[in-house]
Symmetry: C2
Subunit: 235 residues, 2 copies
DNA sequence: TCAAAAGTGTTACCTCTACACCCATGG
DNA sequence: CCATGGGTGTAGAGGTAACACTTTTGA
């Protein structure tokens, strides 16, 4: 087994080299529920079980690039919101060979491309309450991603990545309720979101889904954070 | 150059293997200022410049374990608060050979062991405003760590890791002021911290540092978070 | 006795939460 | 005409921020 050294670099002697992979946690929102995209493994190890979408990092590829490539292979999507979560490296987490996995999570609007999916890979969306058993330490990765998603959603408008360009207030509220697993009061919710200045009401209405129709909103591009900074212990 | 495979595992064919390292960002507090521990490199590459303390991950070693080992090699400390920050893996970040570095940050009370330092390595504490140029992408690592430290400090009582078991209110306030780079009103600050129930006043006073003396406080072990959870968009 | 740091209370404002009814429309 | 989901306002409570003076004691 020859180690792959890609050019004439000198090397560190006596140092173990390991396989580095990326795994992608893909969250989606379909207008009603927050979901997680999983693939049904058609290969060993753990053939036939569910897992995150992953792949090995190539020789000349940075980690972010590798994650974007893996996401594209599965969903066909590019330019998606994607963030590094953390790295898993227990020596025996992958039974085949020691593999250090850098985990990313992505947020996408499910409806925008329900189509591109499922071809090369058997991929399915699962609601957060019905996640099947996952291989290796993937379940722990998902748990961490959810914690992080909530943290981020508290301070930054990340959840808008999961929505189409125009969305209704009830959709936005369902999204927040899904991510935080709790209900919000719709009057307080809409007042608070509007007060943030992040979204703007358009004149159009979405008429499917209710007889009355719901106003469509869009992001106000000039705003980037929900609050300047929040300090728990502060003046 | 033989790849090191530690046992009879089968392997993934055709996959690049790379060196995995850990780098430790060590924040400390001396009762007045928040500081960062750096080492003066006595070896190539970048000999003579400043860097974070790092080391390669060994064959049978998990990432957290590797980081703890590296921290111990430098400071002699064990059982310290340590958390994974993120992973850096640009192909040419290390000119010697491709190296993926998993970054950890640790929080310690400087006074507790000013001694154990500086022997094997030339290590020095730098205030956050006087960080020298660092090698590779270490400066970016530090920047990210500071952002994360602030985020964490907003929701969790992590900063207490930087303090001795007993500390004064002015010390605590300097710590928060150092981390957030701003001043707080001492009346509001102490009221707020005390209202959190996180700390308890003892009868003892710290008499050095002021003529009047300042009450010593200690952590109230039963409390774990500053607030249950905070939602920006919530009910 | 005075310089230096520690300690303490009140008020105005703003934000958060709880809560219930009317509106528009398609069937 | 009625069932369904969408939209809105108000009042009470709680938290935040601004603000200045007194205490202690070592030198």
């Amino acid at each position: 087994m020859q180690n792959i050294i890609t050019n004439a670099m000198t090397v560190y002697p006596q140092v173990a080299r390991v396989v580095v992979a990326v795994d992608c946690i893909i969250f989606g929102f379909d207008g009603r529920q927050v979901k997680l995209l999983l693939i049904h493994r058609g290969f060993e190890p753990e053939k036939g079980r569910w897992s995150l979408m992953g792949g090995f990092v190539r020789g000349e590829e940075g980690l972010d690039i590798a994650a974007a490539r893996v996401l594209k292979e599965l969903t066909g999507l590019e330019g998606v919101y994607m963030k590094q979560l953390s790295t898993f490296g227990e020596p025996r987490r992958d039974p085949v060979e020691r593999t250090v996995s850098v985990v990313y999570f992505a947020l996408i609007d499910i409806n925008q491309y329900a189509a591109p999916l499922s071809d090369r890979f058997r991929a399915e969306w699962f609601t957060l309450k019905k996640i099947p058993p996952l291989i290796f330490d993937h379940r722990e990765m998902v748990t961490q991603a959810l914690v992080r998603l909530r943290q981020d959603a508290e301070t930054q408008p990340v959840l808008f990545e999961l929505l189409p360009a125009k969305f209704t207030m009830p959709q936005l509220q369902s999204l927040y309720e899904g991510v935080f697993s709790r209900k919000f009061d719709k009057r307080n919710f809409s007042r608070k979101v509007l007060a943030s200045g992040l979204i703007v009401r358009t004149k159009a209405k979405e008429k499917s889904g209710s007889r009355k129709g719901a106003f469509l909103f869009r992001l106000n591009k000039s705003r980037r954070t929900l609050r300047p900074v929040f300090e728990h212990i502060a003046n």
